[in-house]
Symmetry: C2
Subunit: 486 residues, 2 copies
């Protein structure tokens, strides 16, 4: 691809007058705000290709209150040990805002390939992520600034020779120039593999800074104007959509669950402390090996999620695990893609992250209650599978528990809660409403189980009608799944 | 203080029955949520004094959805280079939630003292921060777990000798035991200096784990119950309070401002690029030296904040500065102390952080419009001074710009905005309303200028009636204040 840089891009060529260039960015910015569109500018290219200068020129006419620039060239230790897309999710722009990633995921990819060889999985991860964001209404513009070997060498030399700027040149820079050919091949490979239908590269000849900057500005304004005008988006609010599902496809996954599983009290009292001790030992091993664990808990209301989590963590070191509870997204969370609030809590450091309700809300409550549109929850299966693959690919152990109880057990527990001073806060009108939709939830649930089960991220069905049996099984499953991998 | 540990604490001695101990934590937790009370548990003490075990016992009966445990023993590079309280502000609990800091700011203090000697300023910073949080409704419980030298040695030895746990013992641990006497003196000093009227230490004899844990639980429940019952707090919402000020004390700081300051166009065109080049050079020096800069912009509506910031940053490297715009706090921000949303954006790495409106909103708009109660904005002067001192003490350069225009200039600009297609979005009814309260704002403003001006964090008055003069002066002042320190 880089060889073809001379051939002009097949892109709108209309020129922009000076006065338009002055006001257009501000107008586009306000349109993006009004329409709640998040915009991501990926500025990639060779070291010393002028990314900073060009970003500055792009941003100059914009209101600084609407954008943030991020540079990912120097990762913290935590980021270095993170799943590939983790640092970028942490800094994703809000709806209506611009995020400018100077050396973002392509920079990370380049150096990953340079050190460890090419890896198609990472290419897929990037392409899938861009697809997910674009499907969610993000506009992504990706620029690649190309300079030749000689130009790079001279820019580097100029900086080195000046006392006040010599510290800006580091070994990594020198290495890139020294291995220019090898990097060129890698860039070519990356650009080609990630030049997708939905997210095309904007290749810029950056050997001349000024004309490169003009070209970027022109493309930036033209494409943005076109894309923004096409999107007719309402502010996203968590309100039920009109067309809720009343009938669903039938699966038969849960019908075989044995609702009579039990454990005698004496056995429970004997086994529980042993298992808790065991999981505490495993926790230390995980910390030592820096292997993280993600456990998602889903289940019917009153199925015993809280109680199971409590027994699971009772003997763990509180500094090594965290329980992340989720309910309906708040106004702040709605400013991002629905997966953002989970990415924020994925561990990178050998910790155990427990999710009390999870990203599966997208295909359960959001689907059934109409908070997600049909096309949104339908594509969520793939998006969720992609995400879990990324976590697995990074070496994170993933388990997903479904806590299953039958209708009678649920009814009994609801009534108990209502009659207990200590527990009545736990039961709300919503619980009763949800209960009345059990068959709709069941269909959604079974479709979820069918579409999102993988060896590396299994759904584990826990029979929960007897709480003590349930707690022991959660512990046993957690232990055996961790041991399998450690 | 540590010598007196045998003498029992002067604290509620009533015992708690088993069944109360089981339900009380959950009840207290829900009361804290209902009353919107944030609770901070500081668990400090010797290495191997059993912090993890005790935290676990405290938390066992609690709903894991209401607390988060943080350990600050291993700082990232960014945190290491941060102002003393910065990492803790980043992780402050929300209103209604529990934050448990295992080895928090006292741990940081201990090692700071151990390496660099005692420092009363840091003691004051801690005491002031605890005061600020408590005044804001936070409940703080600070536990110190004391073990003797021999007990520490033995616990360490036991861990070392076991293959699966030996990696848990590191050099820092060994050093503490080796220099037990020296650490003991330091702890004593710290405990004494920070045992304030408003935030007392709970000293725990932790040589026996089980009884230490029981004692902590007993104190935890008793004190929390007492404190929570005393607080009668409504959920905090950003709503105007009834009693607004109509008359204010008069200061005469701004009357001497010369509203006729001007600069000829030709001079502006000549000076602007030079100054922009200069500030860009300084930016590189700041990055190199890792000296951060904070610039707060305040000013009348239409005083030209946006335009000045744009000219100030036009030639800066966009990767080295960030503009942080602030308007009224949103529901998420209101869950924290009012300074939290600013702490989040204070730089730690040689960057320039520009604040388009700032923490001074507390004593300006929030005061005049009644969003803050009288006692809230009155104590804010001291809280803000304390905060800026902390930043200065860490070596951050602080400047605060007040952009001053007279009433006629403002009126003219408001009308211009209304008549311009490009600018009319900038003017709202609120601007007109604020304008009508100019004299109230002026009094608040002058009191602010008088009470929050310091050598290390000066208020710089910028005459803004001529925009070009204003932009040049902002640049010049920024340059000279940075050069003074670099």
């Amino acid at each position: 691809m880089l060889n073809s840089i001379q051939s002009k891009m097949i892109l709108p060529q209309n020129n922009i007058s000076k006065s338009t260039a002055k006001y257009l960015p501000g107008i586009l910015q306000r349109k993006a705000i009004d329409k709640n569109i998040p915009i991501l500018i990926l500025m990639e290219g060779w070291h010393f290709s002028g990314k900073g200068y060009i970003i500055n020129e792009l941003l100059k006419p914009m209101d600084p209150r609407g954008y943030k620039v991020f540079n990912f060239e120097n990762f913290s230790k935590k980021e270095k040990n993170s799943p590939f897309m983790w640092p970028f999710w942490q800094n994703l722009p809000q709806r209506g805002n611009f995020g400018i990633f100077s050396s973002g995921w392509y920079y990370r990819l380049l150096y990953h390939f340079f050190k460890k060889g090419r890896d198609d999985n990472l290419i897929h991860i990037i392409n899938n992520t861009e697809k997910l964001l674009i499907d969610d209404g993000y506009i992504i513009l990706k620029f690649f600034l190309h300079i030749n070997e000689k130009e790079q060498y001279e820019r580097m030399k100029n900086l080195s020779e000046n006392k006040s700027s010599s510290w800006l040149v580091n070994k990594k820079d020198e290495k890139q120039n020294k291995h220019y050919e090898k990097f060129c091949k890698l860039y070519d490979h990356i650009l080609e593999k990630t030049n997708t239908d939905y997210s095309k590269w904007l290749l810029i000849d950056a050997n001349d800074k000024k004309s490169a900057s003009d070209e970027c500005t022109r493309l930036f304004l033209n494409i943005l104007e076109e894309k923004i005008s096409k999107i007719n988006k309402e502010p996203i609010v968590q309100e039920a959509h009109e067309h809720k599902e009343t009938e669903m496809k039938e699966y038969i996954i849960l019908d075989n669950v044995d609702h009579n599983k039990k454990i005698p009290d004496s056995k429970y009292e004997k086994e529980l402390p042993k298992l808790q001790k065991k999981i505490n030992e495993l926790q230390l091993k995980l910390l030592k090996k820096k292997t993280s664990v993600i456990m998602a808990f889903e289940g019917w209301d009153a199925a015993g999620k809280g109680g199971s989590i409590k027994r699971l963590t009772a003997k763990m070191d509180p500094r090594g695990y965290r329980v992340n509870p989720y309910s309906a997204p708040d106004s702040h969370e709605l400013k991002y893609n629905y997966l953002w609030r989970f990415w924020k809590n994925f561990p990178t450091d050998g910790r155990i992250a427990i999710f009390d309700r999870s990203w599966y809300g997208r295909v359960l409550v959001e689907r059934v209650e109409g908070f997600a549109l049909k096309n949104e929850w339908e594509r969520a299966y793939k998006e969720i599978n992609d995400m879990e693959f990324q976590l697995h690919y990074h070496g994170i152990i993933i388990m997903k528990f479904w806590l299953e109880i039958d209708e009678e057990t649920q009814l009994r527990r609801f009534k108990e809660r209502e009659n207990s001073d200590y527990k009545k806060w736990k039961i709300t009108d919503e619980d009763w409403r949800n209960r009345s939709k059990r068959s709709l939830y069941k269909s959604a649930l079974e479709e979820m189980l069918e579409k999102t089960s993988h060896d590396y991220a299994p759904w584990i069905i826990i029979e929960g009608d007897c709480k003590k049996y349930e707690r022991i099984k959660v512990l046993k499953e957690a232990i055996s799944n961790i041991e399998k991998i450690l």
